[in-house]
Amino acid sequence: MDSPIPAVEIKNLVKDFKTSFRKQMLRAVDGVSIRIMPGEVYGLIGPNGSGKSTTMKALLGLVAPTAGQCAIFGKDSLKVDSRNDVGFLPENPYFYKHLSGAETLRFYGKLCGLKGKTLDARVSELLALVDLEGARDRRLGGYSKGMLQRIGLAQALVQEPRLVILDEPTAGVDPIGSRQIRDLILKLKEQGITVFLCSHLLEQVQEVCDHVGIIFRGRMVKEGKLDDLIAIEDQTEIVLKDASPELLSQITALIENSKGTTLIRTGKPRTTLERLFLRETTNREDQP
């Protein structure tokens, strides 16, 4: 059986930029290779200025590689037809403020060749998906940051792409908005859509991605399946519910008596601050 065509194939990407003065070259991306198979959620992480956005722009044909190739579902990124199957949400996007949410989606839909009732239905479907039905006729000038990110995600999905590229999708968004976007990414994953995202919110990347690449100063320093990368191979975790102190002391004694095993830590697992925040601020019955 033939192996499927990768959704994203970046081979030895190099990108140099001219600096303003003295015409010195700045290498933003240095020999990066990434392969994302259909249906995967891939997170590219790295500090600011490490080359994440440049890699994404090269994949979208917004910048031309100095060396190397980028392809989307086997089509060269520098060709327009490679963009038929991709949706993109840039970092901090500012859409046209004079358009309403529905008008924005109609504009991008028409650019992708959608029209008539199909377009109307798609616009309504996307507004429902990103929970912006109530703001469909409100101009984007009056949208909050989280709403802008969600309408941005909706426009990225307008032509039902097989690949979605998200550049810092939750930057500047509050935890609730951030959680909504995370849930949307998980929904895309369930539908088999390939997602390529970059972020420096590591906890979120860990929650949604199944493959991760770490980029530093333009170079890929670590890449692989998330579970493989973060697993501590020589340790085992047991989480118990309602365990009595007697049972715990029995387990501890058992471990102490076994050769070659060391008890590193016991205690209560902690929730995350994000989960605590969400629990305290959403669906509270005492709030109007």
Binding site: P90, G113, Q155
Partner: protein, 308 residues
């Protein structure tokens, strides 16, 4: 989400260009650029009362007012159309780059030439609609005023006992200064000149880093375009240096890339009541199309290589 179906045709070039054009038009309209029409209305009506110096006899009295209306109206149309075409074009492209909306558009299956052509067409649509509205207003004012002038002149001619042939000649002379097809041709020429400027501003904005730079350079070229033909002729007639093949080639190249706006002086002739031959209008249309296409294709060459 629905399954991907056949309906996702990726659209035609023309379809995408029109989508971007109507969007650019909407964007500019929502910036409230049509407010200037109120200013134009004031100018068109006020031009009825501007006193021009008279050197002719009393029979020309009313004609001066008609000339004044045409002169002020076409002058204002030229000003607004050139300013609109330069500023709007210089504004739209850098704004999309700064706001990163360009990323979202070019990340869709939109060729860069479609984007450029759409933006230019949107500005031209706005200029065309503006000129059409101003034209309706000018023609209306001119129609009312010319019938008033004609009535006054005929009354004067009858009271002075002019022969029928002279009265008919007076009627024809006055009609030349009223609304005419030549006047519509002059408005179209104003549109063509604005189209050249919009496409030139598009070219400059593809490599300029700011709206201000694009606007200043565009206006500079606009003014140069009004005397470049004179400068060229003076150079060619300036003795030996101007007669060589090199000099002639250089002036030819300059005239191919720099529009000669003296071709549009025919608008002044229309204000003076002369007819605009259809051949002249055809020539102006070809000139307008040539430069608009030339500058748009040049913009594409620059924009196709641009990185964001």
């Amino acid at each position: 989400m629905t399954a991907k179906t056949d309906h996702t045709t990726h659209g035609s070039h023309l379809g995408r260009i029109l989508v971007i054009a109507f969007h650019a038009f909407t964007q500019l309209v929502r910036m409230k650029v049509f407010y200037f029409l109120a200013v134009f209305a004031v100018i068109a009506i006020a031009s009825n009362f501007f006193d021009l110096p008279q050197h002719e006899g009393p029979e020309a009295e009313g004609i001066n007012v008609l000339r004044s209306i045409k002169s002020w109206s076409l002058g204002t149309m030229t000003l607004f159309s050139v300013v609109l075409s330069i500023v709007a074009t210089a504004l739209l492209l850098p704004k999309d780059v700064e706001d990163r909306t360009l990323y979202t558009i070019l990340a869709k299956p939109v060729p860069r030439i479609d984007y450029l052509a759409g933006k230019l067409l949107g500005v031209l649509l706005l200029v065309f609609v503006s000129l059409a509205l101003m034209d309706v207003l000018m023609t209306g004012v001119l129609q009312i005023r010319s019938s008033m002038v004609l009535d006054q002149q005929l009354a004067m001619a009858h009271s002075l006992g002019w022969p029928p042939a002279a009265i008919e000649s007076l009627r024809a002379e006055t009609a030349l200064h009223g609304p005419s097809w030549s006047l519509q041709g002059a408005v179209f020429a104003v549109f063509l000149r604005a189209s050249i400027m919009a496409s030139l501003a598009l070219l400059i904005s593809t490599f300029s880093s700011s709206t201000l730079f694009t606007t200043i350079i565009s206006f500079l070229i606009y003014f140069i375009g009004h005397f470049q033909a004179d400068a060229r002729d003076a150079y060619l007639q300036a003795g030996q240096a101007g007669e060589g093949i090199f000099a002639r080639m250089a002036t030819l190249v300059i005239s191919l890339v720099m529009p000669d706006f003296q071709n549009f002086n025919v608008i002044d002739a229309v204000i003076e009541g002369q007819a605009m031959p259809i051949l002249i209008l055809g020539k102006l249309t070809l000139i307008g199309l040539y430069y608009a296409l030339f500058f748009t294709v040049a913009s594409w060459f620059v924009f196709a290589e641009k990185e964001f």
